[in-house]
């Protein structure tokens, strides 16, 4: 019984973290039509910054979280300004260049803190909440709530602000949006910063729980792509729903069977979606 509940909590947490990462990826695709292979590394950078600030410098965990978001948002902005802007006419080129960024960030992390070191981050919410026979670790609950909170903020931004409307306009029809006076460059930078920041936040949230290594981003990016393909590649709602479905499935199979089998099953699901429902759950690619 305890295992079942643990797994449920883990599934919820995995859904939350995956959703944060996947939303960013969906946002970038919707707005800029770029598939950002480096997105998993931004998650990794978020975890590293959190470690550096809170453990290495000994400061508050929440400062680490803020730092993580800031640093990844800056990297996101840099990617847009220095790289994507020069390759507007070449979408395949953008994809390839993100592979380059992936490799650079990975090596950067190795140089920063070594390849095999054990990096620990203490959670600001240690211990577990005990309700009768249930054990609910506080930090996992925190991750779930924080992720939901961040997603609410994002959705508010997109639905209720002028900025959000601009973003959605660019996602729907780039040319029409620019004819309306919307600055594509500014929206692109903002979208990259937002997307990267979300990934960084996810990394920061998960830092006390997972093993921090230069390669921690790789399974994340694979999961994120599976999720956005399932959800419909440019759709944020799709990404959220698919995150929950996929992460729950994956967590359960991982726990009760084996994590390699879970990965194989996940890849088969992605393949099945690509074959039978290429538009994913939510249909068209334009929805942001």
């Amino acid at each position: 019984m305890q295992i079942l509940l643990d797994t449920l909590v883990n599934a919820a947490m995995a859904s939350a973290a995956t959703a944060l990462v996947s939303i960013g990826l969906a946002l970038i695709f919707g707005v800029m039509r770029i598939e950002n292979f480096a997105h998993g590394e931004l998650y990794m950078v978020g975890a590293y910054v959190t470690w550096y600030v809170s453990t290495s410098l000994g400061m508050n965990y929440f400062l680490g979280l803020v730092g993580a978001v800031l640093v990844t948002a800056l990297i996101g902005a840099a990617m847009e300004i220095a790289l994507f802007r020069r390759l507007r006419s070449n979408p395949v080129g953008c994809l390839i260049i993100t592979i380059g960024v992936l490799l650079v960030l990975q090596t950067g992390a190795i140089l920063f803190a070594g390849i095999n070191s054990t990096l620990l981050v203490d959670s600001p919410f240690p211990g577990t909440l005990k309700i009768g026979a249930l054990n609910l670790p506080w930090h996992r609950l925190f991750v779930i709530l924080a992720a939901i909170g961040l997603m609410q903020v994002l959705i508010w931004l997109l639905r209720r602000t002028m900025f959000g409307r601009a973003v959605r306009a660019v996602a729907q029809d780039r040319e029409a949006a620019s004819l309306q006076g919307i600055s594509i460059s500014r929206v692109s930078v903002a979208a990259m910063m937002l997307s990267a920041g979300l990934a960084g936040a996810a990394g920061a949230l998960m830092a006390p729980i997972v093993r921090i290594s230069p390669f921690m981003g790789q399974p994340i990016i694979i999961t994120a792509f599976i999720v956005i393909i399932m959800g419909g590649i440019g759709s944020i709602e799709g990404a959220i729903i698919a995150s929950v479905l996929y992460s729950t499935f994956f967590t359960f199979v991982s726990t009760y069977v084996d994590s390699t089998i879970a990965t194989i099953a996940g890849l088969c699901i992605m393949l099945a979606v690509l074959i039978f429902m290429p538009n994913g759950l939510m249909g068209k690619a334009e929805k942001v």
Partner: protein, 321 residues
């Protein structure tokens, strides 16, 4: 068919064959690795010729590798047969995968190829028959014995020459295919798929042909890999290697036949010089990739284009048509 390009190619082949005479075992074995990589890159290019990028190519090499490894270890089959079997198995797997995968194009095809390939690779890790995470090892080198004459291909120089011969034959076949009707059809599909269909070209069939043929050559590369290292592990065919293959192809340039060969040779030599900084390698490749995409997207082959244009013009003037 007599053209300066062929003369160059033969000259380079002869020069390459002299490698063991001028260097020791270590660099000769490295030469074998370069030859195998060149085969991988040229066969990868066949897929790129039809307008697609794939992440499944290294795993198809793995199919050839595992096939040969198992046939040698369990059944003691001789080299030429395992070579053919590796190629055939890789081609078969590719043919099966092509049915679902070729319904997709572009980014979706890339993702689909990754999903299928990684699933296969994880099965190799999981299933004891394939040796699990450790893979298979202690695979003996080929041995040729005809009457009194025998060659032990365990000797790096002998195996190098064998690999060079195999790779040269494969390159020749690939080059010929590209110049023949099927090459023209692949190019037509890549440039304007819809128009190609309108003039009677069934793109799905020809894309499948490209995928399967490329896989067969990857399978051969896999067989050579197994004999070269005496072992095969699943990690040798993971995403990192797929990314490197892609990077080598891009840096070399995929427009011409020799572009990827050039890229492979140059980058592998560059790679070797990075051995002191093994950990930095991904980052340096990343920087190279970013640099090439921003400043030199046509790749290294552009360097040689003025030279080939010169040679090509001389050839064309003697061509009656």
């Amino acid at each position: 068919m007599r053209s300066p390009g062929i003369v160059m190619a033969v000259a380079l082949l002869v020069a390459a064959a002299l490698l063991p005479a001028v260097t020791g075992d270590y660099y000769t074995a490295f030469g074998t690795e370069i030859a195998i990589t060149v085969l991988m890159l040229s066969s990868y290019r066949i897929i790129v010729l039809t307008g697609e990028w794939s992440f499944a190519h290294v795993v198809l090499q793995g199919v050839g590798a595992y096939t040969a490894a198992i046939l040698v270890k369990d059944l003691d089959w001789p080299f030429p047969v395992t070579l053919a079997a590796g190629a055939a198995m890789a081609a078969l797997v590719a043919a099966l995968l092509s049915y679902p995968l070729l319904r997709m194009k572009g980014f979706y095809f890339l993702m689909g190829s990754f999903a299928a390939a990684e699933a296969i690779r994880l099965l190799w890790r999981k299933i004891p028959f394939f040796g699990g995470t450790r893979g298979l090892s202690n695979i003996p080198a080929p041995y040729l014995e005809i009457g009194d004459f025998s060659i032990d291909f365990g000797d790096p120089a002998h195996f190098y020459h064998l690999s060079l011969g195999v790779v040269a034959c494969c390159l020749f076949v690939m080059w010929r295919m590209e110049q023949a009707r099927v090459g023209g059809i692949w190019r037509a599909i890549q440039q304007q798929d819809v128009l190609a269909q309108t003039v009677g070209i069934e793109s799905r069939t020809y894309r499948r042909l490209a995928f399967v043929v490329a896989a067969a050559f990857a399978g051969i590369a896999g067989v050579l890999l197994v004999y070269a290292f005496g072992s095969v592990t699943p990690n040798r065919f993971n995403l990192n290697f797929a990314l490197y293959l892609m990077i080598w192809a891009i840096v070399g340039g995929t427009r011409t036949f020799y572009g990827v060969v050039l890229g492979g040779v140059v980058l592998m030599i560059f790679d070797e010089s990075l051995r002191f900084a093994e950990e930095l390698r991904p980052g340096i490749y990343g920087l190279i990739l970013i640099g090439v995409m921003l400043f030199w997207p046509q790749g290294l082959e552009k360097l040689l284009m003025p030279l080939t244009r010169l040679l090509g013009n001389r050839a064309r003037r003697s061509d009656p048509a």
